[in-house]
Amino acid sequence: MLLDVGQSMKRPTSVTFLGVLVFIQGLIFTVLSSLALLLFSTRLSELLPPDIASELAAVRLQDLLLAASALVMGGVSLVSSIGILQLRSWAWLMAMIAQGINLFAEMVNYTRGQANYISLVVSTIIVFSLNQRDVQMAFRVAHRREDPASVRTAEEDQAAIEEARRDVVEGK
């Protein structure tokens, strides 16, 4: 399948859905982690009632680090969502890394009895969507349009045909 480099590429609906989902996830992460960090900051705690401020003072460094990581994750998700909507191939990889880490963290939380099922569901949907062949193809096509040197050669085409043929043979 040699690609016509000049052909236009319209963003598939599935990619739009994916981009929006990642954006919302990033936004939630950013807002919540920013709020948490603000609450932890000394200046804000001075404005809070003394009993709440004393509770905040007991917050451990580990929680602060978690909030900071969530902020970074939110930032990464926001950036990758914009890249996804623009069909940038780096965004696909960035989103995959972020979701992998997030899922890993959520699984660790689950084993500790602190599962966040909504985050688990959203990240799972995002990963399976990113792994959809059509979505990957959309990014690949866009990448080839950007970088004509990456267009598959006739030999690579032949190898892919052989692979597909092998699939059929083995399937039988």
Binding site: A115, Y117, Q132, Q136, M137, E163, R165
Partner: protein, 629 residues
């Protein structure tokens, strides 16, 4: 409607025993004309030899079940009569020859110091070319060698010394010729007998065994004026068979010197290859076929049904069930054949008018070397050219065409007549179909008219129901026939195109029949750095040591530690193979699958109810849409 049998005369479908067992002077000339050039790898210890000298230096032994092996005929005393005399014995008894004895470690070391093997360089090791799981499987395979029957250490060295002594007395390189005429083809079989297969002990391969029979076939057709024309080649390679073994004679990739095809012989394994290079013929772990098939089903479901993963390949091949072994067919060693430094001595497996066929061909069903009682038989010696280890006849012997997948392929000069015959059959079928369609149409119309006539007559309701049923069935049958008629028309059109192609002399793609051909490793595979090779050699051992260390010193965090260790290992592997992106995808998808399982476990009924609700809403939406339109 079945196809009538093929009437075109293309020779007897199966040659009779007498035709198989005799050979004419013209056949011998054909064997000589197309005899191959064998190129060996530097370091090879054994070359094709004659059977007589091997027999003269061997003992005949017997192994009865639950008994110790006994020597029946001592070394140097084997005669044709002793070897081939009919024997009746308890079931499970194995007769075998024994050529070599086991040397002690000092003698083996001395042999390797003085042999050409010390100059053999394996290059990029086999372990560096495959994944972590395959390397683990390799480790397990090595352990199984300790448990199952195997050729004792030092046997290969002694066999090599004995063979070299024989060659020093009288240097000869032989093949055994056999000619079979079948279905318009003349199959010229070149059988090679080796005293030993030292693939495992000398070249880190899959197995060792005493004696080795390998074979290549040149398929020739004789044109109307009797001129022989070579058209196909098939080389034996391990246990493979079928279309992938053969190549078309006019394939531009095939190396030939005039009319002599070139074989690249695997070092130690003596498998035959068309191209120079290093092959990775992965051996399947015994009894793992069911798991592999299940894994392939999962792959198809993942890729095709769920449309997940990369374009053509996503889930990794289950390397755990395949043990990789490099077969070195470099062709940088000895060359034997016409125009080379060493030429062939022809022996025959069939009778000529002057002399009978060797008696051992039919008469000796035993093994041609040591019987190790290996349950997977990889280390047991093979039987002769005609027989399998269990005494049944080999496919390459009784079906030289089918072995190379040629039983379905007409010879080139008969393709056009076969095509024409097939066309005539299809035309006849079309006429039959036309007539059948006409009859059915008439019947259908009659049934419909009858149904219309009795419509509304309450006392004939039962008949009406019966008629409607018949109409339905007839409609279906008619539709099937019409579809077949239409398909046949398209087939006939393609026949015309193919006939034109044949008439123009174009034979199409010479590799169209290949599915999984054996090809040497690519240069990229062989360019793995020294670091990667070292890592490959050490990784499994380090992984096991690391796991042990974690268990001993960090028992409380055993699970986490092991996971971290595995993660680190996979990352290093991915770095060496430039597959970090793939690793990231596998990791994320793996976590997503795990999360799905967790979610299903925690919310099974809510998920089910949600799915049912969604299905209900979807049905309502679709129906409302339909109503609206």
């Amino acid at each position: 409607m079945t196809d009538p049998p093929c009437n075109l005369f293309i020779g007897p479908p199966l040659a009779t025993d007498s035709e198989h067992s005799s050979i004419s002077a013209a056949d011998i000339a054909l064997l000589r004309r197309f005899e191959p050039i064998a190129r060996f790898t530097y370091g090879e210890q054994f070359y094709p030899m004659d059977v007589d000298r091997y027999l003269a230096a061997s003992r005949l032994c017997r192994q009865r079940p639950y008994d110790i092996a006994e020597e029946l005929v001592p070394r140097g005393a084997i005669t044709e009569q002793l070897l081939t005399q009919p024997r009746r014995d308890v079931p499970g008894t194995v007769y075998y020859l024994s050529f070599a004895d086991s040397l002690n470690p000092a003698q083996v070391l001395n042999f390797y110091r003085n042999s050409t093997l010390r100059h053999f360089h394996a290059g990029s090791g086999r372990l560096a070319r495959v994944g972590l799981t395959a390397r683990l499987a390799d480790l397990l395979f090595s352990i199984t060698l300790l448990l199952r029957g195997r050729v004792p250490g030092g046997l290969a060295a002694d066999a090599a010394l004995r063979y070299q002594a024989l060659q020093a007395e009288d240097e000869r390189y032989c093949y055994y010729g056999r000619v079979v005429r079948e279905n318009g083809y003349v199959a010229l079989q070149y059988w090679f007998f080796y005293a030993f297969n030292d693939w495992r002990s000398s070249f880190n391969g899959f197995n060792d065994h005493e004696s080795d029979w390998e074979m290549i076939t040149v398929y020739v057709v004789e044109t109307a004026d009797g001129t022989p024309e070579p058209c196909w080649l098939a080389y034996s390679s391990h246990e493979f068979k079928g279309d992938d073994l053969r190549r078309r004679w006019d394939d531009p990739d095939i190396e030939r010197h005039g009319e002599h095809p070139v074989i690249y012989v695997g070092a130690g394994s003596h498998a035959n290859y068309f191209f120079r290079g290093e092959y990775l013929p992965a051996a399947e772990v015994p009894y793992s076929g069911g798991l592999l098939r299940a894994w392939r089903r999962v792959q198809r479901f993942w890729r095709i049904t769920l449309r997940q993963g990369d374009e053509y390949s996503d889930l990794p091949d289950l390397g755990f069930f395949r043990i990789p072994f490099v077969d070195y067919a470099r062709g940088d060693g000895l060359c034997i054949g016409p125009g080379q430094m060493h030429t062939w001595e022809l022996h025959l497996l069939q009778a000529t008018p002057e002399q009978p066929a060797p008696a051992w061909v039919d008469g000796f069903r035993g093994l041609w070397g040591l019987y190790t009682r290996d349950p997977v038989a990889g280390e047991d010696a093979p039987a002769g050219p005609k027989y399998n280890r269990d005494g049944t006849v080999r496919k390459m012997w009784y079906d030289p065409l089918g072995w190379g997948g040629l039983d379905k392929v007409p010879p080139p000069h008969l393709t056009a007549p076969v095509l024409e015959q097939q066309r005539q059959q299809r035309l006849a079928e079309q006429q039959e179909l036309q007539e059948h369609i006409r009859q059915l149409t008439a019947r259908l119309m009659g049934l419909e008219v009858e149904a219309e006539a009795i419509q509304g007559l309450y006392h004939l309701q039962a008949r009406l129901v019966d008629l409607q049923c018949q109409i339905r069935h007839t409609c279906d049958e008619l539709d099937t026939l019409k579809a077949r008629y239409a398909t046949n028309n398209q087939v006939l059109e393609s026949f015309a195109l193919y006939a034109q192609q044949l008439a123009s002399g174009v034979r199409g793609d010479p590799r169209a029949h290949l599915r999984l051909p054996q090809v040497p490793s690519s240069p990229a595979d062989l360019r793995l750095g020294r670091l990667a090779e070292t890592w490959s050699a050490l990784s499994i051992g380090l992984l096991l040591l690391g796991s042990g260390g974690i268990t001993l010193f960090f028992a409380s965090a055993w699970g986490t530690g092991l996971l971290a260790l595995l993660g680190f290992y996979f990352f290093i592997e991915a770095l060496f193979r430039r597959q970090v992106q793939t690793l990231i995808r596998y990791f994320a998808v793996g976590m997503a699958l795990l999360s799905t399982l967790v979610l299903l476990y925690e919310f099974f009924w809510p998920v089910m109810v949600t799915l049912i609700l969604l299905a209900g809403i979807l049905i309502i939406v679709e129906n409302v849409k339909e109503l609206a339109t």
